[in-house]
Symmetry: C2
């Protein structure tokens, strides 16, 4: 049996409860497919949200930032809500009311902890690199102690979490089905669109395979094959 997260008051979907997914593997798969999350926190009583990269080690999401980061300071003094969303398409119904979006998302609630142990800090850098671009860590200069000291790392336990998704065609009302209006899904994908070499520094280092075949996103060429044209 697959492991499931406990359903709490705030991970209960009030509308369309059938869209709520608490399966650990499904949630981790959505988290691992992304590389940018949105972190919401409260600052002076008001909500704020910022995009940032992230990594995962086991049941924790790791987020890095400068010691001067307003987001990290505020987030570490309270709770956060971390959101990862993959947009898969626009759902074009015959009525404007039934238009929708196909997506997969995960929301994680929690009280973040600061990571101060130097070994865990370094491991979190490696996890971030591995998460965003597998293969990169072995090529780059790892952070030195000055860089580690000027970086604040926080971790959020993935324990109170819910995934949601919508997929497939529009759901029109029966009385709209015969309208003279094209209906269906407009597919949207994030793709790897090429690599541009830094004009500074050494120019003779070959483009690594892990960039050419960026595994998080299909390339334009792969995309062409996967393309599902309207018939």
């Amino acid at each position: 049996m697959t492991e499931k997260y406990e359903v709490t008051d705030r991970t209960t979907l009030k509308r369309r409860p059938h869209r709520g997914i608490y399966d650990k593997e499904a949630i981790q798969a959505i988290l691992d497919e992304g590389f940018m999350c949105n972190v919401a926190y409260v600052h002076d009583g008001a909500p704020r949200v910022l995009p940032t990269g992230y990594g995962r080690i086991g049941d924790y999401i790791y987020i890095h930032g400068s010691n001067q980061s307003t987001m990290l300071t505020a987030a570490l003094s309270g709770e956060v809500c971390v959101l990862v969303t993959h947009v898969d398409g626009l759902v074009l119904a015959r009525s404007l009311y039934n238009h929708s979006v196909n997506y997969r998302s995960v929301v994680v609630f929690g009280r973040p902890e600061e990571v101060t142990d130097p070994e865990e800090k370094l491991a979190s850098f490696e996890a971030y690199a591995r998460h965003v671009l597998k293969g990169r860590f072995a090529d780059v200069r790892p952070p030195n102690s000055k860089e580690l000291n000027s970086t604040t790392v926080m971790r959020i336990a993935v324990s109170e979490a819910v995934a949601k998704l919508r997929s497939g065609p529009p759901t029109d009302f029966e009385f709209d089905l015969d309208r003279d209006c094209w209906a269906g899904e407009l597919l949207i994908k994030q793709v790897f669109a090429g690599a541009v070499r830094d004009p500074h520094g050494r120019q003779d280092v070959p483009l690594p395979q892990y960039v050419q075949g960026y595994e998080k996103l299909p390339s334009v060429e792969q995309q062409k094959v996967e393309n599902a044209p309207d018939t």
Copy 2:
């Protein structure tokens, strides 16, 4: 002279203040390029954030939802922070520390108002349709009074807002420039990847031009031409 938004305490960037953009045209351009935003709000004292579609009429962003939406109910009783982000690429430096992301984002702070006037509600539906998919509104059945009544619409004034962006190559430390490590930008784009007809209802309606040539996103074919391969 281009119009600028007033800089407030929370739209002041504490780090890298040079990345802050308050120009009205630049902010509206980033908002208009997107179709999904993230709305952060406070619920029972804790932060929450959800993705949703949006439209714009002049200086207002409009967001729709069900009358039962927890997000709209909570957002309308306080403040929100609305975030729109376009991810343009991963920035691969020679040190892990200097890795970054190229992006364009807008953050809008404000106290949303509920839109109750039926004409403005209908106009906001039309703005949403126009914003997400130009040309769509003329083809679909517009919302009837029952649908309008079961929809809550909120508007947020775009007045306290800041755009941020990063573009271009990595910024490595001088002493890292000769490392045996490829550095540069891994370009990322959202593309229109095809249209899939709804298997239900009429099957003889031609695919509209505004879907085939979806103007918000490049198609796979356009993407190939724009592609900047590493040399």
